[in-house]
């Protein structure tokens, strides 16, 4: 561990005034379904739907993110291997990114889900846009309330 940002990027616990502020890693859902490159899309799709998800992350044995499947990719031919169906090398985000920033970007870019990874590419979870917006709104409300109480 080289420095403070590496600590934050690994999603490790923090202290201080900003420690309680929600970040991408604390709001991301760790229960997102994962799959392997050689699995057929049909089997993965069934698993994803059964878990009431609309996205799946392709990972290797070390949980390093290799690809992402959203609705469009999961709707492809059931016999196709994940390796061909997935979006390879998706944009991933570090867990220390403030949730307000992630919510702002996800709304502006109309992006439903974003994978959150440690700096070495290991999956921490998937951030859903509605979760990010809700957490950002809650943070805003809390800060307004705190400001009113101190005046």
């Amino acid at each position: 561990m080289d420095g403070k940002l590496d600590w934050l990027a690994a999603g490790l616990p923090t202290e201080g005034m900003n420690a309680e502020r929600p970040r991408a890693g604390t709001v991301a859902r760790g229960d997102v379904p994962t799959c392997r490159l050689d699995e057929p899309v049909g089997e993965v799709r069934e698993r994803v739907r059964a878990a009431r998800w609309d996205a799946c992350v392709a990972v290797n044995d070390e949980r390093v993110v290799l690809g992402l499947l959203r609705e469009a990719e999961l709707d492809r031919d059931g016999g196709e291997p994940i390796e061909r169906a997935m979006r390879p090398g998706p944009s991933t985000f570090r867990p220390h990114v403030p949730i307000v920033e992630m919510a702002r970007f996800m709304v502006a870019h109309d992006l439903p889900t974003s994978p959150i990874t440690s700096s070495d590419g290991r999956l921490i979870g998937v951030l859903r846009r509605e979760d990010a917006v809700r957490a950002a709104d809650q943070l805003h409300d809390d800060e307004v309330r705190n400001k009113e109480e101190t005046h």
Binding site: G3, D6, S91, E101
Partner: protein, 55 residues
């Protein structure tokens, strides 16, 4: 600043560099397109360490 580059080119709305796809949403046609470098800076993912530590 929306992306209104001429000739179908996609440019970063922050720094103006020509890009293939938006680094955030990975779409070819993104009105808020941003390059990977600008995105890392905006989200605080670009720094390798927060302070110079005396160097």
């Amino acid at each position: 600043m929306p992306n209104d580059a001429p000739g179908g080119m996609l440019v970063c709305t922050r720094c103006g560099v020509v890009i293939d796809v938006c680094a955030f949403c990975e779409r070819l046609e993104c009105p808020e397109a941003i390059c990977a470098r600008s995105l890392r800076i905006e989200l605080g993912q670009a720094l390798t360490e927060p302070y110079a530590h005396g160097r």
